[in-house]
Amino acid sequence: MTTTTLSDHIPDLNLITFYAETRRSCFTVMSPWTKFLLLFLIICLVTLSGNIVTIAGLYCVILAAYAGARLPLRNLFAWYALPALFVLSFVGIMAWNEPGIAIISFSVAGQSLVLTDNGILLVIMLLLKALAVMTYSLFFLMTTRYQHFSAMIYRIFPSPIDQIFLMAYRFLFLTLAMTGSILKAVRSRGGGLIHSISMQGRLSAEIFALVFIRSFERSERVHKAMIARGFSGSYSTAVEVPAIHLYEYGIIGICATMVIVVALNDTAVGGLVTL
């Protein structure tokens, strides 16, 4: 666990940036706009398709691309914890009493609870959808350089959202490191051994308040330094985002066609595998 890794189940931004800046593959030379458009198409596909085979296939293709870019698979599986928790806590409740073949059934306080095959399929389907998009998002982050992301943010968002975004992205690493340092200091003084709920609550609150206060003070210092260097309210980026190559238009076109065909097919076919 590095200073910036505050939790093993949440993606480590330092590690992500390290891969984005150092790891070279055929995906890193691709235009970030192409990867952005592919993300849009993947979201469309998982939103439109109700076919578990299609979604499982999509997930496998994305995972293969992730592995092909020589990105860390073990970390990826650890990072799946949070989206899995969201899906399970959200759909896990609704999966019960879905119509279908009963697999598990019992009653609680006079209410019968039945878990059917369709209920399980529903959970698997939404989990695969979440993991497919998450894996591609991380693949996008880990194969695109920081300067290109900055340039994209500058072009997409209106002011002052772009300014806040760009500065926040820049400060995020400092803040994560600072939070990590504070937590280390607390642990080294025995903070991790406290078992009292009220003491733990107060300690956590003071750590969080300290993070905000230090961030506030740092922002004041940074702002003064920026003013001294001629900052006039515009945090602009001079980097050009690599344009979409001709062959990439072909990839986008093929993928868009596939999304339309699959979506139309899944909507029309129905059947057992279609939820």
Binding site: S137, F171, G201
Partner: protein, 223 residues
């Protein structure tokens, strides 16, 4: 500060949960809200560069704190959306939660297509948190009580918004009736509200601490 079980004061919806129609509807409403906040910041209450820098650090701090698991009841992650409202105000707070939602979607905490719906829930938490905190100024003098009540009110309204959004949109693949879905969601909301109490207490403590050390940081304390 690691824990095995995770809890958050409200859940974030993942991609594929809603149909394309509802994804577009919630995105459109969220964009309208952000446009209104942009108009407010640009034309009505002009924001200086200092505030933009502060908002950026607020975003980074809130995102960093979300990653810390509090070792209570198996591990709790805080959203801090009402606190963002109290610290930055509703307009800048809306920008902050927009950016946090985008950063979160990038790491799998909520879907890209669901940013509209998630943002709507978060903006409600930000606005209610800020409004209740200010409204309670004349009733309670203690920052802890005000902060705690404002946070709980914000998260409570956020939970109601989340349930309303899910009931209206319906989850793809779920064939249960609205009343059955509501029963399931009520159970989830009950758990979320339990975590919201923890977040309310901790936010109250954070605000009391900040007010003691740097009172000028709180936007909602300004006249």
């Amino acid at each position: 500060m690691q824990a095995g079980i995770l809890s958050v004061a409200h859940i974030h919806l993942e991609d594929g949960s809603f149909t394309l129609f509802w994804v577009i509807v919630w995105w459109a409403i969220a964009l309208l809200l952000i446009s209104a906040a942009l108009f407010w910041v640009r034309s009505v209450k002009k924001t200086d560069n200092r505030k933009i820098t502060l908002a950026a650090f607020c975003t980074a701090a809130a995102f960093a704190i979300f990653q810390v698991s509090i070792p209570l009841f198996g591990g709790v992650h805080l959203n801090l959306t009402p606190l963002i409202g109290i610290l930055a105000g509703p307009a800048i707070g809306s920008f902050v939660v927009l950016i946090i939602n985008i950063l979160s979607a990038a790491i799998g905490h909520g879907g890209w297509g669901m940013i509209g719906a998630n943002l709507l829930v978060n903006v409600i938490e930000v606005v209610i948190g800020y409004t209740v905190y200010r409204a309670l100024k004349k009733i309670f003098t203690g920052a802890f009580i005000r902060g705690g009540i404002a946070t709980f009110a914000g998260l409570f309204c956020g939970n109601i918004a989340m349930i309303a959004i899910i009931l209206l949109s319906e989850i793809q693949g779920v064939s249960q009736s609205k009343s059955q879905i509501l029963a399931g969601l009520s159970l989830l909301a009950g758990v979320n509200m339990g975590v919201a109490i923890i977040e309310a207490v901790i936010t109250g403590m954070i605000i009391a601490y900040i007010l003691r050390v740097r009172p000028d940081m709180l936007e909602s304390e300004r006249p």
